[in-house]
Point group: C2
Chain length 389, copies 2
């Protein structure tokens, strides 16, 4: 039995709070179900749709389980054996020992964007904290064999985006991934690293220090239990989480066959923006980017190119200064533009009202409205009335 | 009076042939009209629509001329004074002296593609020859201040295209233009240089030798009379001819404000394909290309990227080997693909027929049909019947 003060859920701004026993049992069952080999997000969803909760799955009879789509004889045996064989408690103590928090997809703090994908991970193991403002996130990925050019651009773009308040998501791999995280850190912003292994099996090992820094300025997370060994290949399962956490994915350098292109495809399927940085046509690591651009990806030269392309947020995200962000484009506003935008309500607002509200002279207000209109943050209803988009 | 054997028209494959006197007078009037200051292609067209021929324009009364759109008091005076003041004969002797041929837009040999634009030049002064196979042409333009990268790519792409049988059109300017012409020459292909000055006022002067080479492997041409001085700026008038002569325009390097972007816009308005070569995002001369790519231009990495993008020809163009070309994509075929394609008629054709016609084994024919289908040169009507697209 676990002590009742075990605290693995990420509450609000990530301050761990004591957990009640019944919640704890829920977590144990949820984790246990996710640890059953071959119970992926799709089968898990089918099981939960049928039985209501992970605990109920383990109480179901063989006949009931057999009736669920995706449950064959092998999987049936594994589910039936799980309560005896799958040691969820051990994983939980391991996490506790190493400061790893566990977030399940039923938690309020589970990232909303990630929840929307086809196959969201049931469990996230997290070092560091996910914050509500990480809803304004962009993923940046690319080849492990990047050129100096690619690394420099990744770092520069990530730094600029982070400075603007965009969280940078990447995979903590060698090459572009590491440059993206480093850029976000140097920009003083937030960054999230998603691993294709357990959090205690950091790969590549030489990025352990970088992972620590990322965890301190954001989070390092994985859907795999802490001691899960790195999977071979391109980590496509991991990549869906990278794109799933972000509003868009920027591919910086990627040869024609590259895991980064898989992430781009997943991003596209998830309805995320796909953006690519071009390069020289005689540079192999830019070929994949050029293919994406041919297929309709947005060409990225600057931070503004990225922010302009990101659609409105599902729900307003809190900003560091306590205000709310409704649209990523607001991140590029200067103080005056921000002031005028803040004075525009959900209802049609007149220029006169804006002038008295902001104390700015009429021409200044009108010029600022033009900027806001150009950034598609407001719409003119008439010459003197505007509304938020 | 000119001697009746004056020969300025380009006949068939460019062999000058004697010209009859009445044709000659037509040429004199046509040239004279084009030499009247401010009679551009649009006003000229209006005048010809009203009076039928250049000769009739000069016989028209002031009142009749005044009724034509675009003819104000100044232009009226100029037209009325032209027969006395505009010395078309002098231009014609000058051309004769320097081996310059004159082509009017009523000549059969006037390039058909150029004829289709909104404002085709009435007269072309030509050194060298325009050939029917120049109908398969691509323009390549870019900044005068190109990087080593841009020059190398322009030359390489132009060489590859020229080698495939595509005529390269450009402006004989410094930078990308010159690299495009040089590439076409090194590829052993054809190239056309369009000047923004008269043919006897070569600009830049250091390209005189290059212009001679271009004239020998294609043509150097201008709509301006031979002694017309180079116009300042970006030669936008000239640029419409560059794009007008081509099926598509490739921009290789162009900063944000560049004459090459004007050519791209004109090409777009003329319904030509716009293609652009990407580069590093930290390279200013690639910025214009990136803007074009954002606006929907086709990204070019290779010769095939270009050829695949070019639509079907208005009419079949003769090839060097005497066969006919129906679609630019045919330029990329190997001998076997060519053989199979040639055996497919305008009517639905069966695989059996292709096997007996080509002597190739069935699997080879089927594989080749897949290639032809992929290149959109044929369409399958059933498993065993195909037709040309």
């Amino acid at each position: 039995m676990m002590p009742i003060d075990v605290c693995f859920r990420l509450m609000g701004y990530g301050v761990p709070t004591p957990m009640r026993l019944e919640e704890n049992q829920e977590l144990i069952d949820s984790l246990r179900l996710s640890l059953v080999a071959d119970v992926g997000p799709i089968t898990r969803r089918a099981l939960l749709a049928r039985f209501g909760s992970p605990g109920a799955v383990f109480e179901a009879s063989p006949d009931e389980l057999r009736g669920v789509k995706g449950v064959g004889p092998k999987l049936l045996d594994r589910i039936l054996a799980a309560p005896d064989e799958v040691d969820a408690l051990r994983e939980i103590s391991l996490c506790r020992e190493h400061g790893i928090e566990i977030l399940t997809d039923t938690d309020d703090d589970y990232p909303r964007l990630l929840h929307e994908i086809h196959d969201p991970p049931a469990i996230l193991f997290i070092r560091g904290r996910l914050l509500p403002r990480d809803a304004v996130a962009v993923a940046m990925v690319g080849t492990r064999h990047a050129t100096h050019y690619g690394l420099a651009q990744a770092e520069k773009l990530a730094a600029g985006l982070a400075r603007s308040g965009v969280t940078i998501v990447s995979g903590l791999a060698r090459g572009i991934d590491a440059a993206a995280h480093r850029g976000a850190l140097s920009g003083g912003g937030r960054t999230i690293g998603v691993l294709g292994s357990g959090l205690l099996r950091m790969f590549p090992p030489e990025h352990a220090a970088l992972a620590d820094e990322v965890a301190q300025s954001g989070a390092v997370l994985s859907e795999l239990p802490p001691e899960f060994e790195p999977m071979g290949g391109n980590f496509p399962q991991r990549n869906r989480i990278i794109s799933g956490l972000a509003l868009g994915v920027i591919i910086v350098e990627a040869p024609e066959r590259s895991g980064a292109l898989i992430t781009a495809r997943l991003a596209n399927e998830q309805g995320r923006e796909v953006l690519a940085v071009p390069g020289r046509i005689d540079s192999r690591p830019s070929r994949g980017c050029h293919r994406l651009l041919r297929d309709g990806a947005t060409l990225v030269e600057s931070v503004d190119d990225v922010i302009e392309q990101l659609g409105p947020l599902v729900e307003a995200a809190p900003r560091e200064d306590g205000t709310e962000l409704h649209h990523p484009a607001e991140l590029t506003l200067n103080d005056m533009e921000r002031k005028v935008l803040d004075a525009i309500g959900a209802e049609p607002t007149g220029v006169d009202h804006l002038v008295s509200e902001t104390g700015l002279p009429v021409p200044r207000v009108l010029a600022t409205l033009s900027v806001l209109e150009m950034r598609r943050l407001i719409r003119r209803l008439s010459g003197t009335t505007v509304i938020r988009v």
